[in-house]
């Protein structure tokens, strides 16, 4: 086989040679070409991926402190950012607190707290969640909202991953 190749290529490879000159050159050029592709492609990939890496760092938070949030009236709610995602803090009429990710589990719309209906509602496709636990009650959501732990401390509200 090798002999045949080297004869076709007119290379002066002897019978003992492992590969013809042409094969060697092909492997060499492919290797060098791949090195170039890597040397150009890697910086470009990292360049384009920079914001993703930064976002992932932000997502890595496990606790958010909301100063002055304890002033929130009972029956009111506020939006805040937990990492990169919108989240909802609710102060219930009975004085208890709940916090959950405000991203609908159906198609990722941002949900809202409706005080008069006492429910969490997604305006996109009509999903309804429980105000205290975030469990899915009605509509298309396949599962409940991701709930957080809430702690009130010196006028600040500390929300942490459950």
């Amino acid at each position: 086989m090798n002999k045949a190749i080297s004869r076709i290529n007119g290379a002066d490879a002897g019978a003992g040679d492992l590969m013809s000159r042409r094969t060697f050159a092909q492997i060499l050029f492919t290797g060098v070409g791949l090195c170039y592709a890597g040397a150009i492609g890697y910086p470009i990939y990292r360049y384009l991926a920079s914001p993703i890496e930064r976002a992932k760092e932000t997502t890595a938070v496990s606790e958010v402190t909301l100063p002055d949030a304890a002033k929130l009236e009972p029956g009111a709610a506020m939006m805040f950012k937990f990492g990169t995602k919108p989240a909802l803090l609710i102060h219930h009429q009975d004085g208890t607190w709940s916090a959950m990710e405000a991203v609908c589990t159906h198609l990722a719309c941002t949900v809202q707290y409706q005080a008069e209906e006492n429910r969490i509602y997604c305006a996109c496709h009509g999903g309804v969640y429980d105000v205290k636990t975030g469990a899915a009650i009605a509509g298309p959501p396949p599962k409940g909202l991701k709930a957080f732990n809430v702690k009130v401390q010196d006028g600040a509200v500390i929300v942490s991953k459950a």
């Binding site: 040397a39 910086p43 470009i44 990292r46 360049y47 384009l48 991926a49 920079s50 890496e53």
Partner: protein, 359 residues
């Protein structure tokens, strides 16, 4: 596998006529003589242009024109992974492109490749050169650091000195009476939309002409009998050499960009005085110095006007050279054209060096 590729190729070939193209490319030859080296510079210019388009789009991903311009370039340079490298490659490749375009132009000039039937190649090339310089000028402002600010401020004084239309035209380009965020926004639109839209069709025309007429051989070679003129096939021989040149160009550019990363100065501040030793990019140095000399000899607007007139006249004569020296025989006119070329090259080199010497 090979069978599959062959059948796909056959299918495409039937519809696009690839074989005809290949046959044409194989028939095309490139002259070989002791000055053949200069044939590569058009291709090298093209390569740097492709790098510009490529890195330009990458910069576009994070660059924000307007009031945020400096901050976004600062982020690209110091915060985004490899942002410094992309920006540095864009700046270096811009400079290398201008340099290779100049080399290409002078080599075409001295090889008398502008002669019939290649006049339109010369004229389209001159247009590409001018747009290339405007690309450089408009791109230089975009980071909005001190140097960019003052270079643009000074540069815009040149069209501003034109009689009648100078001032209103300059104000339109500047988007006001002073260089500011509105200027950045306008230059950005020019740099990334208007100028590429002008450049690309002219480039296609230019390249089509090269395909149509082939490379011009030098007069001394054309005078030899046909049997003594050597040539190589364009495909694959010359193309392979071309690609080897591109690889060298890529390596030179990559080395410059990574070993000498492009600087970002202090943010532009209209209330701060110009830093000492401020000067334009090297490719505008000659024009800058001529204006300075003229201004010293004839003070006031007269000097500036005279400088601009001389430059414009020179450029027009330079562009019209195929009409003066268009015949293929080498006589007195051909020699005069060569002397004119040497004079122009001499003035460019001397005034550039002079400009750097008196900084």
């Amino acid at each position: 596998m090979a069978k599959l590729i062959a059948s796909i190729y056959g299918w495409v070939d039937e519809r696009l006529g690839l074989e005809e193209l290949l046959k044409f490319a194989k028939k095309k030859t490139v002259p070989v003589h002791k000055h053949s080296f200069w044939y590569y510079w058009g291709g090298i210019s093209l390569f740097f242009f492709i790098v510009q388009a490529f890195t330009g789009v990458l910069l576009l991903v994070y660059y924000r024109p307007g009031p945020d311009a400096y901050e976004s370039v600062r982020q690209i340079t110091y915060e985004i992974h490899f942002g410094w490298l992309i920006r540095s490659a864009h700046s270096w490749s811009a400079n290398l492109m201008v340099a290779s375009v100049f080399i290409h132009m002078f080599s075409v000039y001295f090889m008398k490749a502008y002669r019939a039937p290649r006049e339109f190649g010369w004229w389209s090339g001159m247009l590409l050169l001018i747009i290339t310089l405007l690309f450089g000028f408009s791109g230089y402002l975009l980071p909005m650091d001190e140097l960019a600010y003052f270079a643009t401020k000074v540069g815009l004084e040149i069209p501003n000195a034109l009689p009648l239309i100078g001032e209103p035209m300059t104000n339109l380009f500047r988007g006001g009476l002073e260089v500011g965020e509105l200027t950045v926004q306008r230059f950005f639109a020019l740099h990334v939309v208007v100028m590429p839209a002008l450049f690309l069709p002219i480039l296609v025309f230019h390249l089509w002409l090269v395909q149509k007429h082939g490379n011009a051989t030098i007069p001394s070679e054309a005078a030899k009998p046909k049997s003594e003129q050597k040539s190589i096939p364009f495909f694959p021989n010359f193309l392979m050499n071309d690609l080897a040149m591109w690889l060298i160009a890529l390596n030179v550019m990559a080395l410059c960009a990574s070993l000498f990363p492009w600087d970002l100065g202090e943010p532009a501040d209209p209330l701060k005085p110009a830093p000492t030793g401020i000067h334009p990019e090297w490719y505008f140095m000659s024009a800058f110095q001529v204006l300075k000399i003229m201004g010293n000899i004839f003070p006031g607007a007269l000097g500036e006007g005279l400088g601009i007139t001389i430059f414009t006249l020179g450029l027009i004569l330079w562009t019209l050279i195929p009409l003066y020296d268009g015949k293929s025989e080498n006589g007195r006119r051909a020699r005069n054209a060569t002397y004119f070329g040497l004079l122009a090259l001499g003035i460019l080199v001397v005034t550039t060096i002079w400009g750097y010497a008196v900084l």
